[in-house]
Symmetry: C3
Subunit: 338 residues, 3 copies
Amino acid sequence: MPHTLRELAERFALGLKGDPALTIHGVCGLSPGRPGCLSYLADPKFHKQLAGTAASAVVLTAPAAEAYAGAALIAPNPLLAFARIAALFDAYRDFPADSVHSTAVIGAGVRLGPGSCIGPHAVIADGAEIGDGCFIGPNCVVGQRAQLGAGVRLASQVFVWHGVRIGARCNIEPGAVIGGRGFGNAPTPEGWVEVPQLGSVVIGDDVEIGANTCIDRGALEDTIIEAGVKIDNLVQIAHNVHIGAHTAIAACVGVAGSTRIGERCLVGGACGISGHIEIGDGVILAAGSMVTKSLPGPGHYAGPLPAALARDWRRDIARLRRLEHLESRVRALEELKR
Amino acid sequence: MPHTLRELAERFALGLKGDPALTIHGVCGLSPGRPGCLSYLADPKFHKQLAGTAASAVVLTAPAAEAYAGAALIAPNPLLAFARIAALFDAYRDFPADSVHSTAVIGAGVRLGPGSCIGPHAVIADGAEIGDGCFIGPNCVVGQRAQLGAGVRLASQVFVWHGVRIGARCNIEPGAVIGGRGFGNAPTPEGWVEVPQLGSVVIGDDVEIGANTCIDRGALEDTIIEAGVKIDNLVQIAHNVHIGAHTAIAACVGVAGSTRIGERCLVGGACGISGHIEIGDGVILAAGSMVTKSLPGPGHYAGPLPAALARDWRRDIARLRRLEHLESRVRALEELKR
Amino acid sequence: MPHTLRELAERFALGLKGDPALTIHGVCGLSPGRPGCLSYLADPKFHKQLAGTAASAVVLTAPAAEAYAGAALIAPNPLLAFARIAALFDAYRDFPADSVHSTAVIGAGVRLGPGSCIGPHAVIADGAEIGDGCFIGPNCVVGQRAQLGAGVRLASQVFVWHGVRIGARCNIEPGAVIGGRGFGNAPTPEGWVEVPQLGSVVIGDDVEIGANTCIDRGALEDTIIEAGVKIDNLVQIAHNVHIGAHTAIAACVGVAGSTRIGERCLVGGACGISGHIEIGDGVILAAGSMVTKSLPGPGHYAGPLPAALARDWRRDIARLRRLEHLESRVRALEELKR
């Protein structure tokens, strides 16, 4: 459904520059942009794309709007305003309320909140509670006595195991596994003996969990993900990890058992974080960092060797391994001095 | 079904050495090999296994065949010839054409191409188009208006979300998630606000996508995988990435958002590639490389510290962290010189 | 069901200190602990938590028990004893024996062992053999002629492809893919040609495989996982890898094709292991190690740069890249000496 610039400005309390009757049919990127669509400029490094955009209007800050001749919506946080407008054009989350597909399997004593939609081949086990207005997509499995808050969305093929508790408005992407067994085994001379994992997973409100991400249940106490945490795809959260509110974790990260990550941290992609350590509030970890000790927060940490031409890289590694020799040569020179 | 050496030589235009009536019942590795079976020799480093093989015949190059007393098929590219022959013995991809399992759920307005097979518990949502001769395995989900070209194979539990377009003859392994939400969130003082992901994923012909691999939909424009790309298991491709034709990506790689990878690149396992950078055509990345800046192609790049005995490794790291001190000692010696 | 301390001591042949009639209703962590529950102390570094625990009894070693005033069960390996006791309180693995859900799809010629349970929407393909007392959870797929030993548990949405053989008592977590296509493609000037993967996967007894982990089938021979191996979540095992008995592999590890890992190894999280190499028995690899060459065992190996403050890290990397210059300066000083 199209909207005029005036409607959008009023609905989201934004400034307006240009023709208020201009009709917006959708959203687009800044470069090249699409006529009839709205774009946005948040990061100044894309400012040079502004002049050439084919978008019919752009959301930007007041200073940026001054230098722009075209139609604009003006916001202190253009990305945020744009995100809210774009949601008007995002039809794919609509679902038929109060519907249970004929192929879904619903166990005994299940509570289905009003307005919920249970998709084809979904399985809701005995005693599970599904909050109001939830969407449980095709082939999802919700285990015994698991609890989902209002407005939770399990996209498809999501697995939520027994007793897991998920807060309101969480969004869980396809293939995520919440509450699988923690990796606990006791060594014996004859091999490993499995240690039962009797804790659960507790997830706060407004959490996002990416595709094929795994969050293991706790060994004895629970694994905890606080409200507002955003976790990308293919992330591993081991048993008894605790992640503070509003922390964001990019894809391919692994967090080992019993580690505590503070609030409002940013964990870059492919980081590895050891078990039984503590990462303070507000820590920023560059992609690929390997964290083996507790880190106080706030602070910006980095880690890996950046890729180099293979020839140069081999020489760097060889020089690193020759450092002992270089140190001893310097020591010899120093002794000659005395 | 067995084949004689002569049949194979004629069908694939190969040279033949030895008894043309020799019957081949299957394929095998070179060492130890199996009587009645065909093996191959492509990499010269395995040449010493040739003399002792129990295989009844071997595909090899003309020079290698000269030095070999046994039965042989002769090809300029022995692995390629072998791959084509081995396919004759690979029965597992056969499926009953024009079959829709009684438990599959087919939405309104779905186009099912002739010759296709829809497996048990598969879900094909409204308006999806399934090309001719596709195989949609058990528990797969194909979203609304998604389009699959002819001969596509979704192995099992594959998730293809709404509007995704997949070219002809693509092979997608179990658990892969194509078109999940990109990881886009706008920061606000109160926490993250989700940025709708309104682009899609467009995949060219002859692409392979590995098990549990995730390819996110674009934020505004599409994520693009060009023809002939081969992607292994547990790979993360973020929103708006563009991967050029015939590039191969090994397992456990993560590619962050909006990065562009050129054609005919080879990306080793467990590489991490930052967002918003460009990797040129023909780049070869050694396993475990962490790429944080654009790399021109072609070229061979490498990255990580190779594992060492823990004792030596601790000393290397300590020496690296003492380098500042070593540099100042060398500076002191140089000043004494003057 | 509650148990008295005396019952537990007799059943598991443990020493007892305190009131034998004390009733244990469950298990808990040491700190803070829960009244009515049993905890354990295995790692001496948690000894200081013992005095303050609210647990009603604790499993510990004889020396630790001497210094403890509370009720105790005494065992040489407290974690092992605790694991066995905790299993008494782990109800979630119970399942209705001899049950096949009405929505499960069972192919022709399938053997279902007595006592097995086949969950909703599971698919068992033609000719598969399911051992006695197996649990096949919701939405699992077992391929043609696959064989599962007695007591195997496929949690949910597990994919076991055709011809795979799995030993007794294996536990496979949600989303794992066993027997997907190995990543084998032959390069040609026109692009990649798929090499059929005609081997299988053979898994020994008592193996654990984590959520969303992938174990590819062999190209010509089989991929082999020996008895007692424990593999965590999101691990990639490529075609023709061989993993020795009782080796444990933590999450996010990738093992490339044809590599052989010995017995009783410990592979830390996020390690990357190259193809066609050999890792000896008893090798311990620290988390994040990148292994590019064969490593003799036993031995303790380590690898990555640990994360540092970004400012320090940038200086370390710059100094590493200046090492060539530093070496030449030292050489100049040495030449002046002569």
